[in-house]
Symmetry: C2
Subunit: 388 residues, 2 copies
């Protein structure tokens, strides 16, 4: 309902911090409602450029740049977690709506704080210990408080598997830089799952079908994902319930990707969460009526959430920059892909390829898991990248 | 395949003449491939603004403005037919790809030429006669060459039912302005259908499922449309075949809406064609994997055409400016619509409402014609526009 105190949802101005592919797709989701989007990015030619009403050049970690973006907006949101939280707190004090809240971002930005949050809210996550510095970490290991193998993670600024070290013996610890660290028990991994969930200010919550992640062995990056995950009904329900419990614990307004490990005993362990549209939710653009991007907008605008059921078996293949070279990317086989039924390529428009950089993705839709696998093989054989 | 002589399809620069809702949705369809779009529109704040790499202010009927747009592009296309054809001919001479070709636009811009084209290519269309001026028209009627009732159409610059007059007796002719005119036998109308078809330079052709049009009684504008049309299999096949025959006759590269009358005997008559994305194809955004907008891009880029099957019964309701008032539009019931499963509102972002002006549309998806009708009624009861 309209009321005099506030603008209707379609007149709200939304500022997005970050203009990578997630910022671009979020901006595009606002287009059917003609909502005015402003993006802040370091690069004047970000991926989102050309899909926004305004494009500001600025650093997501710079206080003044965030403030400059936020002051002209009604709602400020993100496509990345690594942003200046102090500036967002100030914008909140000034009456701006900030989604996710700065408090949530402060927790998410520190892997130790995230684990403490899981633990405090009884969300099942592998045992851990947080260390303020490298020396404390090494002391604990020397005292044999932790048994090899275990996982060491930098608490801050690690993403896409960076800052994550599997430690098999003391040699693996050589050369670690000074940081705040976390030791985590290594889960005896059988599968990785992701569930995208959304919540609005009224507390309405919705979950998308469970996705199964397939990780690139060298790059520790998602190689492709499939949805719905081919797992038992019971495990699907458990993962979905736990993802909803997680977003409710955070009281998030917006969308959240909740990533899980499944161990060899079929036990679920919360790995990490991202309070924003996520790489494991691209398929929702084609496979669902309401994409994760539109769902995020609905959630932060406090609109009714959209329907999350999927009409296809779907997969998303990441298009990554080839190893050992960088330069202008050339996409081979892309026009052949356009002739495959149910195959939808997305090219992010990045000017420069770097090893394992995300340059695009291909969504694949099929009527059965078997046909999905056939198409997936075809796509992976047809598409390749070179640089010039 | 890539070749050295030309850029790959995703590096082609596309200029769109017209930045209304069709230009906006065409620009959005280029976003997943990050194709650089430039729009030319009279209005600095056109609907397409914010969804393009560049936005030029200029008149589609002005020679210099079209040339200015086209010179920096690889391909020039349109969202409206009323454009300067001489400028497009010049761009073609300069080696630019113009889709549809200026020759097709010259035919389409004149309803008399369009009828001659149908007749020359044996495409069934009601009997007609073309008159160079008003006096010739009146003479023919005085000589009783035509029996009441019949239809008089201005050959030029009529759109959305403007310039179309049903003549029941001589009084209806009073006040007709000077123009080139067409008399058409009035079809004893049972139904109106539309088929969206596409063709690329290699001659590959595809048709979307047949749509049924429901016209607004006062405004002579499409009130809503449903797809697939609830007609016999035989009529569907005939309409589809005739639409494909029509686009092949034009040798169009791009998309074409082919509109038909069905008379009381179930006979099909070609009404008119539009060589561009069309109001009767909005539902393809949600109901098909490849929308009419993406299909147009594939066709003009000479890529393989996308698949046209629909996964739903769908309807599109036009959101029109209310009668008797103009001003800033306010959309009531829009947030309620967001809670209806299968209902997708589109707001074009026009700053000013005028009577019957197209301000948006609502796509409705359902699993049966019955459930579609229920949702259609609900949407029409829930959404209304006022102006302030």
């Amino acid at each position: 309902m309209l009321n005099n105190k506030s603008k209707p949802f379609y007149h709200q101005k939304i500022g997005i911090i970050g203009g990578g592919q997630l910022g671009k797709m979020l901006a595009m989701a606002a287009a059917p409602w003609s909502i005015a989007i402003t993006v802040l990015d370091k690069e004047p030619l970000s991926s989102a450029r050309g899909y926004t009403h305004e494009h500001l050049e600025g650093d997501p970690l710079n206080y003044d740049d965030i403030l400059k973006l936020g002051l002209s907006q009604d709602i400020i949101t993100i496509e990345m977690e690594n942003v200046n939280v102090e500036a967002l707190l100030e914008l909140q004090r000034l009456g701006k709506k900030v989604c996710p809240s700065p408090e949530i971002l402060r927790i998410i930005q520190d892997k130790g704080e995230q684990k403490h949050f899981f633990s405090k809210h009884h969300l099942p996550s592998s045992e851990f210990e947080v260390f303020e510095n490298l020396q404390d970490l090494l002391n604990a290991i020397n005292l044999q408080r932790w048994v090899f193998p275990f996982v060491v993670k930098s608490c801050r600024a690690g993403y896409d598997g960076k800052g994550v070290f599997v430690i098999h013996d003391p040699k693996d610890l050589i050369g670690l830089p000074e940081n705040r660290y976390l030791i985590e028990r290594k889960v005896d991994l059988a599968q990785e799952l992701s569930v995208i969930v959304a919540r609005n200010a009224q507390g309405e919550c919705k979950a998308y079908p469970v996705c199964e992640l397939h990780v690139h062995p060298q790059a520790h990056l998602l190689s492709h994902m499939t949805c719905p995950a081919q797992i038992s009904e019971e495990l699907q329900q458990k993962a979905t319930a736990l993802a909803l419990q997680t977003i409710q614990a955070f009281e998030l307004e917006g969308i959240m990707a909740v990533e899980f490990f499944v161990d060899q005993n079929g036990q679920l362990w919360l790995n990490e969460v991202s309070p924003r549209p996520h790489n494991t939710g691209h398929h929702t653009i084609e496979a669902c009526i309401t994409s994760q991007y539109e769902q995020h907008l609905r959630a932060i605008l406090n609109c009714p959430l959209g329907f999350t059921e999927t009409f296809f078996h779907s997969a998303v293949v990441n298009v990554l920059g080839p190893e050992g070279m960088s330069g202008s990317p050339v996409y081979h086989g892309l026009d052949q892909l356009l002739a495959f039924k149910g195959v939808v390529p997305h090219i992010y428009g990045k000017k420069k390829s770097q090893p394992h950089r995300k340059l695009g993705h291909v969504t694949i839709l099929a009527d059965s898991p078997e046909n999905l696998q056939i198409l997936l093989d075809k796509v992976q054989k047809t598409l390749y990248i070179t640089v010039i």
